[in-house]
Amino acid sequence: MIKMKENKIITQSEFQLLPVTQEVRDFVTESGIKNGVVFVITSHTTSGITVNENLDCLYVDIEEMLERLIATNYPYAHSHFLPTYGATGGNAPGHLKSMLCGNHCVFPIKDGVIQCGFAQDIYFAEFDGPQMRKYFIQIQGE
């Protein structure tokens, strides 16, 4: 059996880690699926899904590490006028951070419960906000 849900959010800043663990837990319960896997997948190329511990200090470290690796202000090749868009590519850092982060995560479901470790929280990661965003929760199992 496969069940899927689509969630829409408005992110609040250019970089944001938005915890979505509770939404995923709730959908696992609601789905009625007892054994299987749950995927959380972003619908965009300048955002990601990541798993980490929900601590303010780590939030800062993740943001600062990504900024060190992929500076906001740098002569990116993507930063040029794109005639087919009618706009200039201003979000190269978002694309690159998204690549590092990855677009999804997966967790097992056992006896109807998502098997998250104690410190594991699921985040929607915004790298090009604020924007209106969409992510999917898909459950496969029985």
Binding site: N73, P75, H80, T84, P130, M132
Partner: protein, 283 residues
């Protein structure tokens, strides 16, 4: 107060219900990969950017394309939905026989705050005698004009109509008419600077089509191609922050401007003080 003087509300959800109309706007303006969004997102983006007001610009293309890229009434609608976020301008196709009636209605009934004209897209020369009645109407209501100037990315229009020196006769003939040469008249930035320097009624905005990043482009144009102190020492009272949203994000253009080594007082004027004066809301 921080004011983005140059915003085209082509994808605001409340005025984008008709998909055909949205497609018309995209085709007319050369916009793509953009879709409608709610006013809550605009509010969030403004809070993130530290911007207090957006000036919404419609465009009447009745003669050239038999339609509008956002009507005057739709601008009024957005102002009513979020009066704390938006100032609104009117537009009129100067070839319309009822152009003055459109303007009377826009200024008197809709209470719009200025007029947006695009000589390239609307295919007229600013000094065409046909324009006199429009300029006089704006003076009658003390409403400024936002003229498109410089390069036009939009399809089916010519840049020749919007070269900055085309506006000099208007500046001379109507010294009491405040107007802005948008986009710094790029690539004719020296012509724009000369007009802004010479004529007290001529302003410009920063909504240039950047080709690298806002930081690189705005520093290059405003600090290197123009002399380092030209804006700080000469035209600090005449340059206004404009983004050309949705083509370019308000937050990014503001970030680029804030990266420039201007005097703090100059930055404050560019980001909002000069706009208040232009709009007739401040000294």
């Amino acid at each position: 107060m921080v004011i983005d003087m140059h915003v085209h509300p082509g994808f605001y959800e409340a005025i984008s219900e008709d998909q055909k109309e949205t497609e018309f706007r995209k085709k007319a303006m050369g916009w793509d990969l953009m879709s409608k969004f709610p006013v809550e997102l605009t509010r969030t983006q403004m809070e993130f950017a530290g911007v207090d007001k957006l000036v919404l610009l419609p465009l009447d293309l009745t003669t050239q394309m038999k339609g509008w890229v956002v009507t005057n009434e739709e601008v009024r609608q957005m102002m009513d939905i979020a009066p704390d976020l938006f100032y609104g301008f009117a537009s009129v196709d100067p070839y319309r026989e009822d152009a003055l009636e459109v303007l009377d209605y826009a200024f008197k009934e809709l209470k719009l705050m200025g007029l947006k004209l695009n000589p390239s897209k609307q295919a007229f020369y600013p000094s065409d005698p046909m324009m006199d009645k429009i300029y006089k109407k704006c003076i009658e209501y003390n409403k400024p004009i936002m003229f498109h100037a410089g390069m036009s990315w939009e399809p089916d229009c010519l840049m020749k109509y919007s070269k900055p020196l085309n506006f000099e006769e208007v500046a001379v003939k109507y010294p009491e008419l405040r107007f802005c040469l948008a986009h710094f008249g790029w690539p004719w930035i020296y012509d724009t600077t000369a007009l802004v320097l010479k004529y007290p009624n001529v302003y410009t905005d920063t909504s240039m089509l950047y080709m690298d990043s806002p930081e690189i482009f705005l520093n290059e144009v405003l600090k290197k191609q123009l002399g380092e102190l030209w804006i700080d020492h000469n035209i600090h009272n005449k340059v206004m922050f404009g983004s050309n949203n949705p083509r370019f994000r308000t937050a990014r253009i503001k970030r680029g401007l804030e990266s420039i080594d201007f005097r703090p007082a100059t930055k404050e004027k560019i980001l909002g003080g000069n706009a208040l004066k232009f709009l007739g809301l401040g000294e």
